[in-house]
C-alpha cells in the first residue's frame, strides 16, 4: 500500500496547476511515495514528548513597530510584470471564482 496514491498525486498536480501526462503522474507517484516513506521514518523515532517541529529556531514574538517604511513606486512595482494596464498588473482571463 503506497503512502500516496496515484489519484492523490493527480489531485495535487491539479491544485498546483501542473499539466502532467499520465506517465508523468505514474513516475512522480512512485518518487513521492519514497520521499514520504523516508520522512515517515522520523515519525518512528519521535517520542510523544517531542512536538512536531515547524520552525528550526526556538524564537517567538518577532515584531516590528507600526511605522511606515518606504515602498516601491507603482512604476517600479509594475516593472517586472509581463503585462500592465492602467497602473495595474494585467493577468489573463480568470477561470473560476473569487476566493
Amino acid at each position: 500500500m503506497p503512502s500516496i496514491s496515484r489519484d492523490e498525486v493527480a489531485h495535487l498536480a491539479r491544485l498546483a496547476r501542473l499539466d502532467l501526462q499520465s506517465d508523468e503522474v505514474d513516475h512522480l507517484a512512485g518518487q513521492l511515495d519514497q520521499i514520504i516513506d523516508a520522512v515517515g521514518q522520523v515519525a518512528q523515532v519521535a517520542a510523544d514528548d517531542i512536538p512536531p517541529t515547524s520552525h528550526a529556531l526556538p524564537v517567538t514574538n518577532v515584531f516590528r513597530p507600526d511605522e511606515l517604511r518606504p515602498c516601491l513606486s507603482a512604476e517600479a512595482a509594475l516593472s517586472g510584470a509581463p503585462e500592465a494596464e492602467d497602473g495595474r498588473f494585467r493577468v489573463p482571463q480568470i477561470l473560476g471564482e473569487e476566493q
Binding site: H55, V62, R88, F89, R90, G96
Partner: protein, 504 residues
C-alpha cells in the same frame, strides 16, 4: 431553480425548519502599516503605489509581524471574552488566484490567537427586548487580498471578462476573522439575531478603536452560513456560505432569503449543496458560487517565514486593562444618564449616534436637544447623501452651539433648523451661518414695532377683537408679524408689543 416568487414565505419556512447560522466577519484593522511590511494602509491611493517586495511576494523578501496588529487581535479576543493562545503560529493558505501575488495568503489555521469566547446581543421582539449569547469559536489574524478589476465582461463581473487588472494596495492589510459557533435561536428571530450580532460586533470594534469598521468601505465584511434542519431535529443540515454581505440590512435579508430558498429546495426533495453563494443587493437573492469540497483544498501548513506568536500573560493582562466599557454596559449607563426611554435609546443606537450624542452633551447640549438634531435633519441628510451620520459636515460642537443659541434666545426652533441646514450645506460654523444668512431672532422694538403696526393696519377686525378683550385673537397678529419677518421675530416680544398697542 426556484425564483424568489415561488419560495415559501419566511413564516412557512420556519414552521417546518429550524435554521442554524454561523457568522464569519472580517475586520480590516486601522493600523498605519500592513500586517507584514511597512507599506501604508491608507485608503484611496493610486493603484499599486503602496506595495513593496514583501506584499508583492517577490523572491528574497521576508515578512515581519506588525506589533499593533497583534495587540489589536488580542484586544478583540479579550473583548469577545475569548481565551488568548499561549502559543500560536501563522499558516499558509495555498490557492491560485491572482488576488494574492504570492499564490498563498498568510492566515492562521489550527492555532488562532483567540478562541472560545462569547458576546451578548439584544433583539427587539413583540415581547420586549431579548438577550442572546452568541458563542465565538475563534478570532484569527490574516492578511487582506488585492483588488481585481475584471475587464471585457458585463458590469465588471468575472464571467465573460477577457482579462483582469490587479491592484495590490490592499494586499497585506491586517485582517481579523471572527467566527461564531453555530447560532441556534428561536427561528422567527434568526435574521434579526444575525443582524444584531454584526451590529454589536461593529460597535465593539469601534469602541476598541482598532478599526472604523465601515462596511460600505469594506472595512468590515460578513459571510453568513445558514443551514436548515427539520423542526426539532438535532443534527445539522448541509450549510451554504453567502459571501460578502456588506450592510447590516443585507445580513438580515440574506439570512431570510437563504432560509426560504433552502426550505423550498428541501420541500421539493432537492439536497442542499455545500457551496458558497453570492448575495445580490439589488434583487435580494443569492446565487450559487463555487462548490466547497472541490475548491477548499488549501493545503495549509505552518508559515516558515514567521516565527510563532507567544503572548506573555502579563502583556495580555496589560491589554485587558485597555479594554473600553463593553458597549451594552455603556448603553445602559448612558440611557440612565440621559433619561431616554428604551425606544428613544434604541433609535439613537440604530442611527449609530450614541457617541455623537454623548459628545454633543459633553459640549454643553441637553440630551433631548442633542438627540433631536442627530436623529432628525442630520440623519435625513446622511441618508439622502448615502453617507454616515458622522460624515455630513456637522460636528457635536456645532450641534451643541445651536442648542446654546436657542437657549440664549438668539434662535428659535425654526431658525435653528435653517442654521443646521446651513452647516450641513458647508456654509461654515453655526455662528457663521447665523451671520451670513441673517438668521438671528429680531427682538429689536423699532424693527418689530413697524411689523406690528403693519399687521394691525392690515387686519383691523382682528385688532378690534383684541381691543374688546378677546386675547385669543392675538395669535393671528403674531402669525402675520412672523410671516412678515421671515420667522425671525421674537414671538414673545411681538405679543407684548401688540398688547401694549391695543390695550392702551
Amino acid at each position: 431553480m426556484p425564483t424568489i416568487t415561488t419560495l415559501p414565505s419566511f413564516d412557512a419556512a420556519i414552521n417546518r425548519f429550524d435554521p442554524v447560522m454561523g457568522m464569519e466577519v472580517h475586520v480590516e484593522l486601522g493600523t498605519t502599516t500592513k500586517m507584514f511590511c511597512g507599506c501604508s494602509t491608507e485608503f484611496g491611493a493610486e493603484p499599486n503605489a503602496q506595495v513593496c517586495p514583501t506584499c508583492l511576494g517577490l523572491p528574497g523578501s521576508l515578512p515581519v509581524v506588525n506589533r499593533v496588529a497583534v495587540e489589536s487581535a488580542i484586544r478583540i479576543g479579550l473583548a469577545l471574552n475569548c481565551r488568548i493562545a499561549e502559543h500560536c503560529r501563522f499558516a499558509r493558505k495555498n490557492y491560485f488566484y491572482p488576488d494574492m501575488p504570492k499564490n498563498f495568503q498568510v492566515s492562521q489555521y489550527d492555532e488562532p490567537i483567540a478562541f472560545d469566547g462569547w458576546t451578548d446581543v439584544t433583539v427587539d421582539t413583540d415581547d420586549g427586548a431579548r438577550v442572546f449569547r452568541i458563542g465565538i469559536e475563534r478570532a484569527h489574524m490574516e492578511e487582506d487580498t488585492g483588488k481585481s478589476l475584471h475587464v471585457g465582461g458585463a458590469t465588471g463581473r468575472i464571467h465573460g471578462a477577457s482579462h483582469s487588472l490587479l491592484d495590490y494596495n490592499r494586499a497585506g492589510i491586517p485582517l481579523i476573522e471572527i467566527v461564531t459557533k453555530p447560532i441556534e435561536v428561536p427561528p422567527a428571530l434568526a435574521p434579526a439575531v444575525a443582524r444584531a450580532y454584526v451590529t454589536e460586533l461593529r460597535e465593539l470594534i469601534r469602541a476598541l478603536g482598532v478599526s472604523e469598521a465601515r462596511m460600505e468601505l469594506g472595512q468590515m465584511r460578513c459571510d453568513a452560513n445558514v443551514s436548515l434542519k427539520p423542526t426539532g431535529a438535532s443534527s445539522f443540515g448541509t450549510r451554504t456560505e453567502t459571501k460578502n454581505v456588506n450592510s447590516l440590512r443585507s445580513v438580515e435579508r440574506a439570512v431570510t432569503y437563504e432560509i426560504r430558498r433552502q426550505a423550498a429546495a428541501l420541500d421539493s426533495g432537492t439536497a442542499i449543496v455545500q457551496e458558497t453563494r453570492h448575495w445580490h443587493e439589488d434583487t435580494g437573492e443569492t446565487t450559487a458560487g463555487r462548490v466547497k469540497e472541490e475548491a477548499e483544498d488549501y493545503r495549509y501548513f505552518p508559515e516558515p517565514d514567521l516565527v510563532p506568536v507567544a503572548p506573555a500573560r502579563d502583556w495580555v493582562e496589560q491589554l485587558r486593562g485597555t479594554l473600553p466599557e463593553p458597549p451594552a454596559a455603556r448603553r445602559s449607563r448612558l440611557q440612565a444618564e440621559w433619561g431616554f426611554t428604551d425606544l428613544e435609546m434604541r433609535d439613537v443606537v440604530n442611527a449609530g449616534a450614541v457617541g455623537l450624542v454623548e459628545e454633543t452633551i459633553a459640549a454643553g447640549a441637553d440630551a433631548a436637544g442633542a438627540k433631536k438634531w442627530w436623529l432628525g435633519v442630520v440623519a435625513r441628510t446622511a441618508n439622502e447623501r448615502g453617507a454616515g451620520i458622522d460624515e455630513v459636515g456637522i460636528t457635536p460642537a456645532d450641534v451643541a452651539r445651536v442648542q446654546t443659541l436657542i437657549g440664549e434666545g438668539t434662535l428659535n426652533d425654526k431658525l435653528a433648523r435653517q442654521v443646521v441646514e446651513g452647516v450641513l450645506a458647508g456654509e461654515g460654523s453655526p455662528d457663521e451661518v447665523v451671520t451670513a444668512r441673517g438668521l438671528a431672532i429680531v427682538s429689536d422694538d423699532a424693527a418689530l414695532g413697524t411689523a406690528v403696526d403693519g399687521a394691525i393696519a392690515a387686519m383691523p377686525d382682528v385688532a378690534e377683537k383684541i381691543r374688546g378683550g378677546n386675547m385669543g385673537a392675538v395669535g393671528a397678529l403674531i402669525g402675520a408679524v412672523m410671516k412678515a419677518t421671515g420667522g425671525q421675530a421674537d414671538a414673545k416680544r411681538v405679543r407684548e408689543l401688540i398688547v401694549e398697542r391695543l390695550s392702551g
